[in-house]
């Protein structure tokens, strides 16, 4: 699982933010480079479009540039940045779903992103099942399983109570269990 502080540790990232608040461009570029890979991988999972990923990353860092001085260290830097990206991704996904009057379909690109033929079937099933989840449930699952965030971190990122995060995960798992009976075929019971 990738490091939660991809730009080089919590203290270093907090120092970068302080410099960014003083309009230090080199600090900004370092933070941007540190987070670009993590964010683009995360966003390309949600919609296989490079323009979508780039737009959200740049919207996020545009806010980082302007609001760095308001960061008070109440959370980790990574949680703060993910929170900004989360709100933009959620809004974009909702708009996309609204315009397509349904879920975002995995396009050719997503097809192209998988090359491991053995794992392909399972990944395809999982990808299509994930695309059927409501956005908040999908994002909670991605934050936990793809990015490795704790329950409390997801609560901060999504600006929701811990109980809501647990409920979203609970419902996401329940829906996936129905959609993906092939997941550990011996699931015996639900509570």
């Amino acid at each position: 699982m990738p490091s939660l502080s991809p730009a080089g540790g919590e203290a270093h990232e907090a120092a970068l933010l302080q410099r960014i608040a003083q309009q230090d461009r080199r600090a900004f570029e370092e933070l941007y480079h540190g987070y670009h890979r993590r964010l683009s991988r995360f966003l390309l999972r949600l919609a296989p479009r490079f323009d979508f990923a780039e737009e959200i990353i740049n919207d996020t860092f545009w806010v980082v540039w302007r609001k760095a001085g308001e960061f008070r260290g109440a959370s980790r830097v990574s949680t703060w940045i993910m929170g900004i990206a989360y709100r933009r991704a959620l809004r974009a996904l909702r708009t996309a779903r609204h315009h397509s009057a349904g879920r975002i379909e995995a396009g050719n690109l997503q097809e192209a992103l998988v090359d491991n033929a053995e794992a392909r079937d399972m990944q395809d099933w999982v990808a299509s099942a994930l695309a059927t989840l409501p956005e908040e449930q999908r994002l909670a699952l991605e934050l936990a399983y793809f990015l490795g965030h704790s329950c409390e971190e997801i609560a901060t990122i999504t600006n929701a109570p811990v109980g809501t995060v647990k409920a979203r995960m609970f419902h996401a798992r329940q829906k996936l269990r129905t959609a993906l009976p092939q997941l550990a075929g011996h699931v015996e019971e639900a509570p």
Partner: protein, 207 residues
Amino acid sequence: MKHGEAWELIPWFVNGRASAEQCARLEQHMQQCPGCRAEVAAQRELLQAMQTRPTVESMPHASLQKLWSRIDRQPAAAAATPRPARRQSRLSGWLAAAVAAQAVLLGVLSVALLDARHGTDTRAAYRTVSSPAAPAGPAAVRAVFGPDMRIGELQGLLDRAHLRIVNGPTAEGVLTLALASPADDASQALAVLRADPGARFAEPIGH
């Protein structure tokens, strides 16, 4: 630990973010609960399936340059929330990028046609995507290039990376690139692309 509490904890047991104390209590509960044992197995499988994609290599240079020009255009006192109008124009910008990428390919093709019409030696060092004499290396890389890249720049970059276009651009602007000769190294080609500010994204194609 009660069953409901254990059930809720499973995602963070599986992703390694539950505390040692929580893990110990869940493990104890699982000894008597086949349902939770099965759920842990299922969630581990799900987490693994979600970890495997995408395999995209991100290349932030071009995106960062776009952001700098946006920041530099913006007066310091302007509002911090992006306006909807900008989204529209940037998406149109992307469409323009796709068209530009197609224009690049058309440009390469027309050079190839000119080449053929003038009866140029096909063994010339300058190879095009349609050169029938060029040895067909396996598709090695998929990549997206910035909309501002000129034909000559793309050609120069591909020559340096020992790559040539074998397919695309797709609607998303993705080009499939092959090694110019089987002796070339795909990881070296990727390194050349990665170092170039015009390359947006690239990923190796596994075999």
